[in-house]
Symmetry: C2
Subunit: 625 residues, 2 copies
C-alpha cells in the first residue's frame, strides 16, 4: 500500500491508496458520450472459473487508481469542471474567512487550509442551477448521463443472459426499470423522487443518485469533536470510508478548525459531502444556542456552499409547539441539531427561525445547488419513544417544507429515525412516502433494540436492511462506537461494510435486476473452492482472507477443497460435487424414476407440489447438466 504524503504539522499527512485486493479500477463511457468517464471496479475471477469479471460501482475515487498520483494539497482531478463551466455561472469573490470560522484557532493550533484553489461559483439571478430545475425543464445534464451509466453496472451482464431479477423481489411500489436511461434519471429527479447532491462548487465530485429506484446508498459520518481528532485523521477517514463503499460522507465536525478541515475534505472528496451547518453556526456564537440567529446561520450556509458542500441537514421541522411533546419521552431529543433548535425556541419563546425563514434558506441553497437533507430533530432515541407524536408531527412538517423547497427549485431528501423496533419500521416508511411526496428517505439505522451498546452497527443494520427494503434510498451508517465514543478508522470500516451488506440485502429483497449477480458469483466460487475468488468478491476481501489464513495460512490451503471448519472428510461441498457428477451420470430412466418419486410423495401442500414439478419446466435443463 502506497501513501500520498504531505508535510505539515496538523494538516493531512497520508491517506490510503492502492487498488482493492483482486480488483482494478476501470473507466467506461456511455456510447453516445465518449467524454464522460465513469469509474467502476472490476473484480477479476480466476481463469479456471471461465467466468467474466464482475463489475461493481466504485465510490473510492482516484485513490484506488494506481495511474493517478494523489496530491492532497492540489485536490482531486475535476471531473465536473467542464460541465459546470458550460452552464455559465457567475464567478464571485469568496466570502472572507473569519477567525470564528475556525473557532478562533490561531498560531500552532490553526490547521492550515487546503492550498487548492477553485473559483467560487453562484447562479446568476433567474438562472437555472439545480439538477431539479434542469430536470423539470426537460434538460438531461451530464451528471444524469454519468449516473445512468454508473447505475447500469452489471446490467450488461444481465442482458447477456444472467436474467432480470425484478420479478423475484417485493418492491413495495418502487418502479425499478430494467435499464437506467439518462431520461429515467431526469424524470426521477424532476418528480422529486431522487436527488443528485452536487454543489456547483464541488467539481471533484463523481456524481451519484439517491432514490428508491436506484441502488440503495449508504452514508458514513466522520468529523472531529471538541474532545478528540485532527484534520489528518478526518481526511484519512474520508478516503477510508469511500474505499470501502460509502456513497456519501457527512462531516459532522464541531470545535476548532472546522472551516479549514472542511477545505481538505471538499477538495479531496469524490463523493457528495453533507454537513449540519447549525453546528458551525453554534461555534460562531460561542456555543450558546440562545445566541443563534438567522444572520449567523445564513452566513454559515454561504460559507459552506462556497466551499462546495453538497447537502445540508436543516432541522427546520423542530417547531416551538412540538417541544413539549418530547417532555415525557424516555430520551427526550437526541438529535444535536434538534436539541439546539428546541433550546433556541424555548429560550426565545418563538417559532424556529429555520422554519419561519425557510424560503430564504431555499434561496441561498438553490444558488449553489446544495440539496436539502431535512433533519429529523425529533427522532426517537430509544425504543420507548419510537413513532411517537413528536416524531410524526415533525415528519408532517418536513412534508410541508419539502413542497416549499421544491417550489423554490431545490432538491430534497428527508432524514429518518433513529431507534425503532422491527414491527414499527414499516409505518415510518409508509408515512414518509405519503407526507413527503416520495422525496427520498435517508435513515439512521434504525436501531431495533437499545440493549447492545458496542454492537449498534448490528442492532441498526437489522433495521437499516428492513427499511431499505421498504423503500429508504440511503442508509446512514452506525458504527460500533455509537453511544460510547468517537469512531476510529477500524470503526469506520466496520460501519461502512455493515451498511453495504444491509443495503445489498435490501437491493436483493426489492428485486433489483442485477444485485444477485454478485451473490451468485461468490456462491459459485465458494462451491468450487475458488478461495481467492470468494475473498475478492466479498465486500471486504482483506478480512475474508485474513480470517481464512488464521487457521489455514499456507498458499496450498487457498486451493484446498475443504476448509478448517469441517476438514476434508466432512466437507459437504466436496460431497455434493461428487453427487452432482453421479446424478449427471445416471441413466435417463433412473433419473426420471427418482423425479417421479419425488413428485408423487405424500405432500400436503399443493403449492409445494407445483413448485417441485416446476423446477425442471423453468430451467429446461435435466439435473446434473
Amino acid at each position: 500500500m502506497t501513501d500520498a504524503i504531505l508535510s505539515g504539522a496538523s494538516a493531512p499527512a497520508a491517506v490510503t491508496t492502492s487498488a482493492i485486493r483482486g480488483s482494478r479500477k476501470i473507466y467506461s463511457a456511455p456510447a453516445a458520450h465518449p467524454d464522460i468517464r465513469v469509474p467502476f471496479r472490476e473484480i477479476s475471477l480466476t481463469e479456471s472459473s471461465g467466468e467474466p469479471p464482475l463489475l461493481v460501482q466504485d465510490t473510492s475515487g482516484p485513490f484506488t487508481d494506481p495511474g493517478v498520483s494523489i496530491d492532497l494539497t492540489a485536490g482531486l482531478p475535476q471531473a465536473r469542471a467542464a460541465w459546470i463551466a458550460g452552464r455559465g455561472f457567475e464567478g464571485v469573490a469568496p466570502r472572507a474567512v473569519k477567525p470564528e470560522d475556525n473557532g478562533g484557532a490561531t498560531g500552532a493550533r490553526l490547521v492550515p487550509a487546503c492550498p487548492a484553489q477553485r473559483p467560487v461559483l453562484r447562479a446568476r439571478d433567474g438562472q437555472m442551477v439545480t439538477q431539479l430545475e434542469f430536470a423539470r425543464a426537460g434538460i438531461i445534464t451530464e451528471e444524469m448521463i454519468y449516473i445512468a451509466h454508473r447505475e447500469n453496472a452489471g446490467r450488461q451482464a444481465m442482458a447477456a443472459g444472467a436474467g432480470d431479477r425484478r420479478a423475484d423481489g417485493e418492491d413495495f411500489g418502487a418502479e425499478i426499470p430494467t435499464f437506467i436511461t439518462p431520461e429515467f434519471v431526469r424524470s426521477e429527479v424532476a418528480r422529486g423522487r431522487a436527488v443528485i447532491p452536487a454543489n456547483i462548487n464541488h467539481p471533484e465530485l463523481e456524481p451519484t443518485i439517491i432514490g428508491r429506484n436506484f441502488l440503495v446508498k449508504i452514508n458514513a459520518n466522520i468529523g472531529n469533536s471538541a474532545v478528540v481528532s485532527t484534520a489528518a485523521e478526518e481526511v484519512e477517514k474520508l478516503v477510508w470510508a469511500v474505499r470501502w463503499g460509502a456513497d456519501t460522507v457527512m462531516d459532522l465536525s464541531t470545535g476548532r478548525n472546522i472551516h479549514n478541515i472542511r477545505s481538505w475534505i471538499m477538495r479531496n472528496s469524490p463523493v457528495p459531502i453533507g454537513t449540519v451547518p447549525i453546528y458551525q453556526a453554534l461555534e460562531k456564537v460561542g456555543g450558546d444556542p440562545a445566541k443563534l440567529d438567522f444572520d449567523v446561520f445564513a452566513d454559515t450556509l454561504i460559507e459552506q456552499a462556497e466551499q462546495g458542500v453538497d447537502y445540508f441537514t436543516i432541522h427546520a421541522g423542530v417547531r416551538l409547539p412540538y417541544v413539549p411533546l418530547t417532555a415525557n419521552r424516555v430520551t427526550g431529543i437526541v438529535s444535536r441539531g434538534g436539541s439546539i433548535m428546541a433550546r433556541w425556541c424555548l429560550s426565545h419563546h418563538r417559532e424556529s427561525f429555520l422554519y419561519e425563514r425557510f424560503d430564504e434558506i431555499c434561496d441561498i441553497m438553490r444558488r449553489y445547488d446544495v440539496s436539502f437533507s431535512l433533519g429529523d430533530g425529533l427522532r426517537p432515541g430509544s425504543i420507548a419513544d419510537a413513532n411517537d407524536a413528536a416524531q410524526f408531527a415533525e415528519l408532517e412538517t418536513l412534508g410541508e417544507l419539502t413542497k416549499i423547497a421544491w417550489d423554490k427549485g431545490c432538491q430534497v431528501m428527508i432524514e429518518g429515525p433513529g431507534h425503532v423496533p422491527m414491527h414499527k419500521i414499516k409505518a415510518n416508511m409508509d408515512k414518509q412516502l405519503k407526507a413527503c411526496g416520495e422525496a427520498p428517505f435517508y435513515t439512521l439505522g434504525p436501531l431495533t433494540t437499545d440493549i447492545a451498546p458496542g454492537y449498534d452497527h448490528i442492532t441498526s443494520a437489522i433495521g437499516a436492511a428492513m427499511i431499505g427494503w421498504f423503500g429508504t434510498a440511503m442508509l446512514c451508517y452506525v458504527t460500533p462506537k455509537e453511544h460510547l465514543g468517537l469512531p476510529n478508522r477500524d470503526d469506520v470500516k466496520t460501519g461502512v461494510i455493515t451498511y453495504k451488506l444491509a443495503a445489498h440485502a435490501a437491493d436483493l429483497a426489492k428485486g433489483h435486476p442485477t444485485a444477485q449477480l454478485r451473490d451468485d458469483a461468490l456462491s459459485r466460487a465458494r462451491f468450487d473452492f475458488r478461495w481467492e475468488d470468494q475473498f475478492n468478491l466479498s465486500l471486504d476481501p482483506d478480512t475474508a482472507c485474513a480470517f481464512h489464513d488464521e487457521t489455514m495460512p499456507k498458499d496450498a490451503h487457498k486451493v484446498a477443497h475443504f476448509c478448517s471448519m469441517c476438514g476434508p472428510k466432512f466437507c459437504s461441498m466436496k460431497i455434493t460435487q461428487d453427487l452432482r457428477a453421479e446424478v449427471a451420470a445416471m441413466g435417463d430412466n433412473e433419473r426420471q424414476a427418482l423425479e417421479q418419486a419425488a413428485a408423487g410423495m405424500k405432500v400436503k401442500s399443493a403449492e409445494f407440489t407445483a413448485g417441485g414439478g416446476q423446477i425442471y419446466v423453468e430451467t429446461g435443463v435435466a439435473p446434473g447438466e
Copy 2:
C-alpha cells in the same frame, strides 16, 4: 477473574469464572416450591437512579457464582438429580467405550475422559419418560415449574407497574401470556409447540424451554474438527458461550477424541447440549458415508444418550428422490449431515435408513428423553437456492416425521435455513408452522446475502431477527468466521452477543410483555448519563466500557454529562434535560397554549392528530413531570 484449574495434558485446563460486570447471580424459588432454585442475573443500578435492579435470565450456570467452587473433574452440581431419581428410571450398565468412539486415539493423543461418574439411566419398558409424555398425561414436572419461574423474570416488575407490552407488538399468531404458569408450560409441551431438551442423564442441566410463546432462545455451536482445536478449548468455549447468553450449545466435533471431549462438555454444561450423531457415526466407519448403516448409527445414539446429550440433529428428511432436486443448485447440499446422507442414498441407490427406520430411532431417543432436532439437510447454501423445491420437499417430510415422533412420545423441533433473502423469509416460517404442526422452528440465521464473508454474523442477524419475530423459537448463531474458518473464543462471543441482540429485537417486535424493560432501563441510564448503568445493562458490559474508555479513560469521565462524540457543548441529552426542566416550570396556560398549537397544526393525517392528542390522555401526566 479467577480460573478453575485442572492439571492434565490435553484435558481442559481453565475456564472463565467470576460474575459478569455489574451483576450478581441470585437464586429464587417459586412460591409453592422452595426446593426449586432458579438462577437469575440481577443487574444493579446506581443508587442515585432510584431504580430497582433489573432481573434477567441467566444461562451461565455456576461458573458466574463466586460461591461455587468449580472443579471440572467433578462436574457441576446436579440440580435435577433428585427430580430424576423420583421418577424411578432403570440404572443400566453403561455401554463399553470402544476405541472407535475416540477415533482410535491412543497414548498421548488420547484425551482422558472426564472422571466425574454419573449413573446411566434409561426408561423401563412402558414407563413415561419424556416431558411430552408427562405433559400429555397432565403431569407438571419439576422442569416445567422451574421453567415457568425462569421465564417470568421481569414479569414481577411488570406487575409492579411497568406495564404489559403485549398489545404493542405484532406476534403473527403467537399466544404469549401475561404470566407463565407451570400449567401453561405443560400445555405448550403437550401440544408440541414447545420442547424442553432434557436428557435424564444430564442431571447438571438448568432446564430451559424452546417455543414461540417464550423468550426467543439462541444456540452456539462449538466443536473441534480434524484440523484444529483441543478439548481444553472446547470446554472453555462452552463456558464462554453460556456466560454471554447461549441458551443451548451444540457440540459439532468431528475427528479424534470425540467421545471423551463430550464427557467433559456434558458434565460441565448447565445448558442443553445438542449433537449431530451422524458425524461420530461417520468417524466410526472411517469417514466413508457408504459404509454407514443403521447399527453403527443406533450404537452412536445410545452412546451419546447415555452421556446425557439433550437433543440430536437427525437428517431423516433427506430422502433419495430429493437428491436430484439439488443437482442444479448453485451450492448443492451445504449441510454436512445432509450431504453424508445424500451420499449414502446415492451410493446404495436406496431410501435413507434414517427415514426408513425412523420409528426405531424414536424408540431409542424416547428412553432417555433426547429431543429431536430434525435437520434441514437440504437447506439452501446461497441466495440463489433459497425456498427451492428440494428445501420445501424436505420440510414436508420433516412434518411427516414430526407426527411419527410425537406419536412415539418424543419431543421435536425443526431446523431451518440457511441463506434466504429478506422477502423470502416469512414464507419459510409460514410453511414450517403449517407443515410441522407448530413444532418449534430452530433456524440458522438465515443469511440475507452471500457477499459478506467475514461479516456473516451480521448478514445472518438480519434474517435471524426477522424470522424470530415471525415465530422462530431458537436462533442458531453464526460467527464472523462462517465460511472461512473455525471460530475462536472471540468469535464465539461475537456470535453469541449478536444473536442475543437479534433474539431480543424479535422479542420486542413480538410484543413480549416484559422485553422492553431492559431497553427502557438502559435508555433512562443513557439519558441520565449514568455511564456505569448503561454499560452494565448492556449485553456486553466489558466491551461497552472498553469502547467508552478508548476516548475517555478517566474515572471522572464515567460521571461526565457528555461523551467524546459531541463534547459538552453539543450534547443533545444535556440540552434536553435543561429543556425538560423548563417545560416543567412553565405556567399551565403557556403549556396548554403550545399543546393546542401543536394539536391545531395543519397535519394531513387524522391518525397522527389522534396520536398527538392521546399522549397526555394515556399517561395522565403533564409534560415535564
